[in-house]
């Protein structure tokens, strides 16, 4: 029996089930105990689990992260929430200098199972300080897992997996995806890290799409289908670890690669994916690989500029057509 649930409701359900399954799960974040509940992803949890387990936290992002880390050493499984990824940047010391290397530094004897939820990307007028998509920064760090779920199904399964795994995870949620629904099973289930999914089969070109670019890429594939072009859409679902094998297997079949990444062009996840494919089978590519990304510019507020800033299905389709020559 299928049940449609929005991305936001799937995140709420995953958190609710995790808290129900395990009394050690706590949620920390600004406004997590309010009715609005971080776009509906924490609404009602405080009533069910109490203010000790669902804590509004001071506007101290660095301390919030460090607090979750210290709490995890005592056996708790904290989930922390940032309404904007931009706010989270105050916690870079905690993340890069401590959390990512804690396991390494202790020679595997100490773990910090912390889940950091953060919301990023496109939204009306969010501008340069409310929309940055820095998943590649975090994926660069050894010792951290990074999830970029595109669908409600993956959001639930990856969040549960993050909470109950032993490696800390950064869970990057696409703002534009929150209302999108998907079939979401009611039971608590897992989606494993490092397992990409083929969203659509095709033989002419491989289109790797990350996070909020997944629905865009799938719409582009539909456009191209009408032109007789069969695109294989690969959603890596997590960037660290990255399922390099599934991506390479697809490209070895199609011979062409386009990557759609909702982030800046330079030094990003798209570059990493293209580099991986080049190293594995560069001499077998039928055409040059291509990236569809944001321009190397900060996000404009004006809707006129925003429209130009974010690539849409036509941009993705154009890149695929170009790769086909």
């Amino acid at each position: 029996m299928s049940r449609q649930l929005s991305y936001a409701k799937a995140i709420l359900e995953a958190t609710d089930q995790a808290m129900g399954l395990c009394p050690q799960v706590i949620v920390l974040g600004q406004l997590v105990d309010t009715q609005s509940g971080i776009f509906g992803t924490t609404t009602g949890l405080v009533g069910k689990y109490g203010a000790e387990r669902v804590q509004d936290f001071p506007v101290s992002e660095n301390l919030m992260t460090a607090t979750a880390m210290g709490a995890s050493l005592t056996g708790l499984r904290p989930v922390i929430v940032h309404q904007r990824l931009d706010f989270m940047l105050y916690s870079l010391d905690a993340i890069a200098n401590w959390l990512a290397l804690w396991r390494f530094k202790s020679n595997g004897k100490s773990a910090m199972p912390v889940t950091i939820r953060t919301i990023a990307g496109k939204g009306w007028g969010q501008g340069p300080q409310h929309s940055k998509s820095l998943h590649a920064w975090f994926a660069h760090l050894p010792g951290l897992r990074v999830a970029v779920p595109a669908t409600a199904y993956d959001a639930k399964g990856l969040l549960l997996e993050s909470i109950f795994s032993e490696t800390p995870a950064i869970f990057v949620e696409g703002r534009g995806l929150f209302s999108m629904t998907d079939d979401v099973p009611e039971k608590p289930y897992r989606v494993r890290f490092g397992q990409a999914v083929i969203r659509r089969q095709g033989k002419d070109a491989t289109l790797v799409a990350i996070g909020s670019m997944v629905p865009v890429a799938m719409r582009a594939a539909s456009l191209l289908e009408k032109e007789g072009i069969e695109v294989e859409v690969v959603d890596p679902r997590t960037l660290n670890p990255l399922d390099r094998k599934t991506i390479c297997d697809s490209v070895s079949k199609t011979g062409r690669l386009v990557v759609a990444d909702p982030a800046w062009l330079s030094f990003g996840a798209a570059a990493e994916i293209i580099a991986t494919v080049s190293e594995e089978l560069g001499d077998r590519l039928k055409s040059k690989a291509a990236r569809v990304t944001l321009p190397d510019s900060h996000t404009p507020m004006s809707m006129a500029l925003e429209k130009e800033f974010y690539p849409d299905e036509n941009d993705v389709a154009a890149a695929v057509r170009k790769s086909l020559g």
Binding site: L21, F39, L76, K105, K109, S110, Y153, D183, Y189
Partner: protein
Amino acid sequence: MELSHRTLSLSGHYRELTLRDLEPAVALQLFRQMLRLRRMEEALLAEYHPAEEMRCPIHFCIGQEAIPAALSGLLKADDFLFSHHRSHGYYFAKGAPLKELFAEIYGRSTGADAGNAGSQDISHSGSHFYSGAILSGAVSISVGAALGFQLRKTGQIAVAGFGEGATDEGAFWEAMNFSGKRRLPLLFVVENNRYATFSDQLKRQADDNICERVRPFGVRATKIFGNDAPLAHRTLEAEMKRLREGDGPALVEAYTYRWNSHVGPEDDSSNNYRAPGEMEFWKDNCPIVLLEERLRERGMLDDAAKADLEREIALEIAANFKFAKESPFPTVKDWHRMNFEDASPMADRLLGTASRGGFDPDQAESKLGPY
């Protein structure tokens, strides 16, 4: 006169150390622990260059033995201790095995962290001891441990040891705000040794008054002359008792002084950062000498007893060096496994598997409001 580095450097030999109600066994243990730590650091310092086998930065704590010695007698096995880069005193205070400290500094597989961490990042999770080299970072993490103890009602306490330099950082004040608000079972121990590397506290802060500044956050604060080991013991004991009764957090600022360079055995005096006469004052008020004076006056220590103690310590240190030097170097097994844990027993137990349906990409994107 208000206690500060300025007033201290104007005073002479410290005569206020008293054993008062201190049990003789406690006084002798404080002495023994300080001497062990001093001799250990002296031995590491002496060995550092000739041997060239300790290939990591070491921030020696000679001169700052009183606080670690006092903590060592008061911390319980399940309390957590977080330290900064000048870590040896705190590692020692938590009762973590010293041979593993030596082996860690030597980069050996038998080290506390199998050579991944070295002196300034050492941890010993079995002893609940953690350190790191980014000043206030460990202070912040200690807040979370204290929150965990509070939420789980375990009766444990967390202690964060750091220097006055850490209070330059914003992260420190976030920790004051939240721990005061939540009344966490957390003890902040500031060893104020005046200098962040070569920079005087008063070049970085308007006043030498950390205690005054943390109190409005709801953090109880006491400043003490940090080379008076019995005073450190009494102060920390009283604060830790209150923390265990739910009356936290507390901060103790201990004025002390590092005799050596900021890091390593090299002399850093060419930077001319120390005030004239300062080193003489602090060496005259060595925490070990101050306690030894009283113990001898009381007839609790004599030359023979001290010689016995020195012999015992020398044997311990020799055994630690031997252990470190004879231990094998680590070998690379798997870089991935060193950084990631792939096993997930909890997820295996609690979560099932499911299968995806068909995701419809033709839905409108959400237009979220501000919250």
